[in-house]
């Protein structure tokens, strides 16, 4: 009897380890950002629309959102309506990072579908995207008033994600409901 105890115990342990592994597996398809809690990488980029360059340092002192997109990205089209809704709510400045795209195609996209962005920075050769650890589009970052990355969402923005992972992280303003 006793000699079955050790193998049975080991087997139970193995089952427990594999079970925990399987339970956690779905979350592993989304890779956590290495940047959360760290300063948002600095950059200066050409604007898609209008003159001059955009520098996120100009947003210091306020919370803002950066959305990585491209016209080649089908999920970006899916989330576009939600981005327009976010823009209409005027809660946070929304910066677009147009990644590995064609300027004309990108402008045509915004003309056709509507432009939710306060400013769109252009990153044709991934230099900004690599600094931000971007590995696919769409990705959406939340940056706080001190320029720290608070959260990164991979995949299309939805109403649920926006409420749970973005709005819920904002500091509570006195007098403003919630």
């Amino acid at each position: 009897m006793n000699r079955f105890l050790l193998p049975a115990g080991l087997f139970a342990l193995l089952v427990a380890v594999l079970f925990i592994g399987i339970q956690r597996a779905p979350q592993k398809t989304v890779i956590p950002s290495a940047l959360v809690g760290k300063p948002a990488p600095a950059f200066q980029a050409q604007r898609l629309i209008g003159e001059g360059r955009f520098d996120p340092a100009s947003l210091r002192g306020q919370w803002w959102v950066m959305n990585v997109w491209g016209t080649w990205c089908p999920e970006c089209r899916h989330e576009h309506e939600m981005l327009l809704e976010i823009a209409r709510s005027e809660v946070l400045p929304l910066v677009g990072l147009n990644w590995k795209d064609d300027d004309q195609a990108a402008r045509a996209w915004l003309d056709e579908l509507g432009d939710p962005y306060d400013v769109v920075a252009v990153d044709r050769d991934s230099r900004i995207a690599i600094d931000w650890g971007v590995y696919g589009a769409p990705e959406t970052f939340l940056i706080d008033d001190r320029g720290t990355v608070v959260h990164r969402h991979v995949g299309a923005m939805t109403r649920e994600v926006w409420a749970r992972d973005f709005l819920a992280r904002l500091p509570k303003k006195p007098g403003v409901g919630g």
Binding site: P32, S33, K100, I130, D131, W132, G133, Y135, G136
Partner: protein, 156 residues
């Protein structure tokens, strides 16, 4: 005799064929046409790009992947090497941005220690258990020769 040597030849031929097929497969050929001038640097570049994960495809290295971002990451590695960074600094540069997930060979940290230790520990455990079983069988056989360890014997 003749037949068996034929079989041996057949296996060798199959192995050669497999090798030839593998060598002509895309996995063996560099997707990357760029070569660095310095052969030593090129070798380090080749080794590094094979141990960095293509984040979009996840099961290929950036050396094997034709995806756009993999090409941009190869450029990043190239530029860092040309700027005189060490291999460790290149790995650090990319894992600071993409996390340890980009490294195919996990680093030894508190979180990954079990990953490195478990196989050796399990092997050791197996050896200990096997040794105990063998020793017990040996002593059993010595002390009780009438013990029927074979069913045919017991019935007879």
């Amino acid at each position: 005799m003749i037949r068996s040597s034929f079989q041996g030849l057949g296996i060798v031929r199959a192995a050669l064929l497999a090798l030839a097929l593998w060598a002509s497969s895309p996995a063996a050929q560099a997707i990357d046409p760029v070569e660095l001038q310095d052969p030593a640097l090129q070798e380090r570049y080749r080794a590094l790009t094979h141990e960095l994960r293509c984040m979009q495809c996840q099961n290929q290295s950036i050396a094997d992947s034709p995806v756009g971002l993999a090409g941009d990451l190869r450029r990043e590695v190239r530029e860092l090497l040309l700027a005189g960074k060490t291999d460790a600094e290149v790995r650090e540069h990319l894992s600071a941005r993409y996390g340890d997930f980009i490294l195919f060979r996990p680093r030894f940290t508190a979180a990954t220690a079990w990953l490195w230790i478990t196989p050796a520990a399990l092997l050791l455990l197996g050896i200990v258990i096997a040794a105990r079983i063998i020793r017990r069988r040996a002593t059993l056989a010595d002390s009780d020769p009438t013990e029927p360890d074979d069913r045919g014997d017991a019935r007879a």
